[in-house]
Symmetry: none
Subunit: 224 residues, 4 copies
DNA sequence: AATGAATGAGATTTCATTCAT
DNA sequence: CATGAATGAAATCTCATTCAT
């Protein structure tokens, strides 16, 4: 994948040496995570990527574009994989659990990425104009679709507010990831995925199902 | 109230003209909200506050200290009022509703403040070293206390995870406020307070209020 | 004596409180010696003198005038005492010894003063326009007069070059005082006065006088 | 020769374009001589050197480093040439005359250099930490060695104090060069070299060279 | 394609100095 | 007389960015 899918003044000569482009992005992610956008210098990144400053401008038209290019690839892969797998998961509740795991896992697995996104990109107005942000939005729609599916098939209560519930999930994930970036706690982010799911699910499941399931489960257990 | 309660290298000559200090802070809040920290210049702020650039440095030792001084007063007042009122509210659920309203209201009522906090301060590592941040932490403890109260008096389920639930609330509020700052939507943030409360409450209230369903759950336990 | 006899834009309201003026000067001398002119701030001096910044400007019209006022009093006293005593000293050689002792003693006794003069004033073009500098020049003439007296009365060789010899003395004294200011060595500057005198005297005394000493030496040698 | 041999935080990227580095140094020497260190601005120097302000910082890490880099090259060449020639000069007296000529000549030939050294560098404490200053110290040792040689081979009296005599020479040279820088007099500095030498030599030469006269004198005195 | 070298463009910050009280 | 408060006026230095090679 090309290094630079960003919107803002994209380089015409996009392809070049994709490996070098990726190396620069990796270096940038690391440096931005460590120092923040302003404190990081293009030279820092160039040194880390073992290229010259000028070379960075062969691949990215500006320092900001370099920043905005960081999530592009990651987000795209993330989103595609979600799109691919979701249809194979049965039930809205299971889909929701999957989404939460994936969402939190994305950050848990890429701490530098998480730090850049939470501490730098989230505060950037220009990022909203980015292609990467469009994918973020698509991704957000997945949640809504799952909620709608759950409501329709009776897994979720009909009176839940999808946008609100998504805000709860999304917000709590970002809250926790931000804490992790800033304070280093908790040690294992991914552990929280089930807690989030459970708490949310308790709040949104429809009463009927709730009962049934539990009854079933209890019975099974009792049998065993 | 003094202009500068911040930690990092506070000016000894704090008081001077508190009104001018406050005017500078107000101007800074406005400018930072509009342009962000980096793009805002000290001159911008000085012009808006109708003082000279140098005067700003009589009140705040650096541009960053000026930034960190913005939440100090607001947060302190907010926290004190919470502390004052909370004891007079009956029941954990009512207290929680109050906290959420206050929390979201803080941002809804001060859009510039909200923007500075969400887009700039949240991403700043140095802000964590600030006195203002200490108050934020105190404030966060209020939530936990309310959850514990609710668990003890049976209003909330005993298996809820206070830190997680707080993350859901806190995270969703910040998520929504950030959206408002960046996208301008929704028109009225405060409307969401009850939605958040209701959704959360549904998820955490104790079964008694829920009767039927939870009976089953209790049975599970009894079986085991 | 008033605090400010300097040329450059002297304050009309000279007298005021001479004690405070002197305190300011003393503080300035100390601070300038410690930090140098540029690094020293008017605030530093004000703090040390226990007055406000503004008060300093009641006594001295500028930071530079304050600097130039430092030597004024000291030099004047020094010069007057020289003028007073010199006539009572017999012989040019004795007078010369006296001048050298006084000259070196001036700095040895006032290390801060020495430091300010050697490290700061000597490099200042504007100092040359100062009244204090005029006294320095007068003082320099003393040397010339002594040499002339010595030449005339046969104590010194008639082919010595007064200006050159003065340069040797003056230069060596300043060289040594500067070293003391910068490197702290030697421990006791005043010890060197006789060495300077002896060495110079050996070079400039007239042959007649020269003899005595050498007789002794020769004899000793012969004996040995 | 590289532009930057100074100690204090030397630029790693030293070489670049040595000619440009030298041009900057030349410009700096000129401007510093004309205006003094503080009054001279980096822009002044950049303009004179026909480079941008920023380019100066590519070659020198700070304005002060630029100042301290001025003597480096000059001093090094001066010292090396001395070291090279001294061994080929017969006798301590001749060597001393050579050193004095060279020493005074160094300043006489480079008026800007002289002014910078005398008015600015001599008062700078930080200059003492410089590599260039180390060479100055080496150079100072040459004098001592010459005196020791002269004492040993009988050219100079055995009771002279090398460090004192050096102070006389060094001090008088700097005194005279400083006067030249500040007052413009005398027209030709180098003329004074022989005067200094003669006067010093008269004071330090051994009596043997003086013999005859002294013998006569001795006899007279003995008679008396 | 890669880069060494050069620079344009400012912004923060510092202080000496002023002046009304 | 003393000073608290305010500010005008710069200057250093930093970097992102460009461009010729």
């Amino acid at each position: 994948m090309p290094a630079n899918p960003s919107k803002i003044k994209s380089n015409s000569k996009v392809l070049k040496n994709p490996l070098k482009g990726a190396a620069i992005l990796r270096a940038a992610q690391h440096i931005f995570a460590k120092k923040g956008f302003q404190a990081a210098t293009v030279s820092d990144i160039a040194k880390k990527a073992k290229v010259s400053d000028a070379t960075i401008y062969e691949y990215f038209s500006s320092k900001e574009e370099l920043l905005f290019s960081i999530p592009a690839e990651t987000i795209r892969e993330y989103h595609e994989k979600n799109r691919e797998i979701l249809p194979h998961i049965q039930g809205a509740a299971n889909k929701l659990r999957f989404l939460i795991h994936r969402h939190l896992g994305l950050y848990a697995d890429n701490p530098d990425y998480a730090t850049v996104v939470m501490l730098t990109l989230k505060g950037s107005r220009n990022f909203l104009k980015t292609d990467a942000y469009k994918i973020v939005q698509s991704s957000a729609r997945n949640y809504i679709q799952v909620f709608e599916e759950g409501i329709q098939n009776g897994e979720f209560r009909s009176d839940i507010k999808p946008y609100l519930v998504r805000a709860l999930i999304w917000g709590s994930i970002e809250h926790l990831v931000t804490r992790k970036s800033l304070l280093g706690k908790p040690a294992d982010l991914l552990d929280l995925a089930d807690d989030i799911y459970d708490t949310i699910f308790t709040g949104i499941r429809s009463s009927k199902q709730d009962t049934t399931i539990h009854v079933n489960v209890n019975l099974k257990r009792t049998d065993a």
